[in-house]
Amino acid sequence: MSAPAPALAPPSGGSPRRKAGLGPRQKAERREAIALVIPALLPIIVFSMIPLLAGVYLGFTNATLARNAEIEFTGFDNFVQLAGDEQFWDSFGIGLVWAGSVAALTGISAIALALLLNSKLRFKSLTRIIVLIPWAMPPVVTGILWRMIYDVNSGPLNAALSWFGIDKVNWLGDFSTALPAVIVVGIWSGLPQTTVLLLAGMQSIPGELHEAAALDGANAARRFWHVTLPGLAPVLIAITSIDFIWNFNDFGIVYVLTEGGPGGQTMIPPLFTYLEAFRNREIGYASAMGDVLVLAILLILSIYLVNQFRQNKEGR
């Protein structure tokens, strides 16, 4: 992000920069900039940056929630302990499956739904209204609503299955169905936003491209593959990766649905960390988990960014 070195700058590129001795005008501009930025910067520093840095640091301490306990720096002790904590690594794996499945399946379904909404079918305005509701719904309400749907005795899902003679399933309470059931809810709540964004992306692809391809004799499938998908790719990749990170870091819906149960089958890392911090009161250890999660995300992100960079280089 640094400015280009002066020697590399084009000779006529703007006024030369002077390091020392700002003129009165630059000074006034600097004061203006500070005045514009302070109201937002103050809360950012107090409630976001300091907690962020402190959170990273707490991972290297033995902090607890007890009021007068002294916080001691313990180096990598927490991380050594964490390396052998099977429960944490189990939850890490569950978190990857959860966030990965939700992001991938949401992306695929959203493409399909956006294509349908972009076609000449009827009922599109009805679909648009319905798409709006899950998007606006508070996550807690989403959790409550799906608990009712999945309920063993009074839920409509089991009632519908009983018409086909299928026995009751305890969707959120059974070891084998809990995680898939939670993933379905994740898709349900993320699908609307992804679809609407993809739809907007599709509509920004120039229609002439489709017409030209059609004139060349390309059928619908080929046009989708060669025109729509490449045009959509930047939006799709950006949304899917943000979706993955959000789901990996958040636990609201899972907390309301299962609280991590049954037997830890849906215990995703942020939920595990939350319980460690506020039920077991082990702040230092919980923060170390948070540190590991950040590292993991940064690692995944950097692999992705390096790939993007390479593709850009090869492609152009």
Binding site: L116, A136, V140, S154, A159, E211, Y274
Partner: protein, 281 residues
């Protein structure tokens, strides 16, 4: 688009089937909870998949509002959401201008920070945040929650607003300053009025975020009389078997209405803002 192309009939049938599947998947759960809010408790506990209640009951709503301090929580949520909205707008406006107009290090730092907040799990921030609020004597207060909400919506609002600022032609500002008006006057009289539509969208977005937010409120509020709506609704769930499904459904339906209203106004603008960020950001 492709106006001269005829879609073969089987494809059309498949398309309608797929659309129907999506409608069922997205719409049925919503219809179910609305219908549950009008069902009697006897009907709710029986294994029947009636979408239309046998007997329409309205007591769930009155029970929910009367008994389970839902109204207090709704009041808290409203206060928090409106305050967050007002403060966020006041704070976002000048900084988004700075981000859009003053290039260089500030912009780079702002972008990095916005990205960082998306990558860090809130759980890592919440623990020290809890301690910071305790130090400032703001723990377990609505003011503390409001300030935290303002801060946490800033990445998105700044991102959105700076796009709107960038769309204002610089020439308008230059013309203003040629006439001898100060930068401040130019901002207040020329730039800010042009930003009104974007500002409305940003304001409504912060309202919905604060209204729907669950996790930060869960950790930062301890006194039941301060609980926001999501926290109280979550508490409705209670122990297995004790849950009163009817009032719970009624409460959930009521909690969705405000953000649904705001969202229906907001949808188009929000999409535009997010898309601009995703592609150009």
């Amino acid at each position: 688009m492709n106006t001269n192309m005829k879609t073969p009939l089987p494809v059309t049938v498949l398309q309608y089937l797929a659309l129907g599947g999506f409608l069922l998947f997205l719409g049925f759960p919503v219809l179910w909870i609305v219908s549950a809010s009008f069902k009697s408790s006897a009907e709710l506990n029986s294994l029947s998949a009636n979408l239309i209640p046998n007997e329409w009951v309205f007591t769930n709503f009155t029970t929910a509002l009367e008994r389970q301090n839902l109204l207090t929580s709704a009041g808290n949520s409203f206060l928090v959401a409106v305050s967050t909205m007002v403060i966020a707008v006041i704070v976002t406006l000048p900084m988004s201008y700075a981000l859009a107009r003053l290039r260089g290090k500030l912009r780079a730092a702002g972008t990095v920070w916005i990205l960082a907040t998306q990558v860090f799990p809130q759980i890592l921030i919440i623990i020290p945040l809890f301690l910071v609020l305790r130090t400032l004597m703001l723990n377990d207060t609505l003011l503390g929650l409001i300030l935290v909400y303002v801060t946490f919506t800033l990445p998105f609002t700044l991102w959105m607003m700076q796009g709107y600022v960038a769309a204002v032609p610089r020439e308008l500002e230059d013309a203003g300053s040629m006439d001898g008006a100060s930068r401040f006057k130019v901002l207040v009289h020329i730039v800010f009025p042009l930003l009104r539509p974007g500002l409305m969208a940003t304001a409504m977005f912060t309202f919905v975020s604060a209204w729907n937010e669950f996790f930060l409120a869960l950790v930062l509020l301890q006194s039941p009389e301060l609980f926001t709506l999501p926290i109280t609704l979550r508490a409705f769930l209670g122990a297995e078997g004790q849950t009163q499904l009817g009032p719970l459904a009624a409460g959930a339906v009521l909690a969705t209405i405000p953000s649904l209203i705001v969202f229906s106004f907001l949808q188009k603008k929000l999409t535009g803002g997010m898309l601009a960020g995703a592609v150009k950001g």
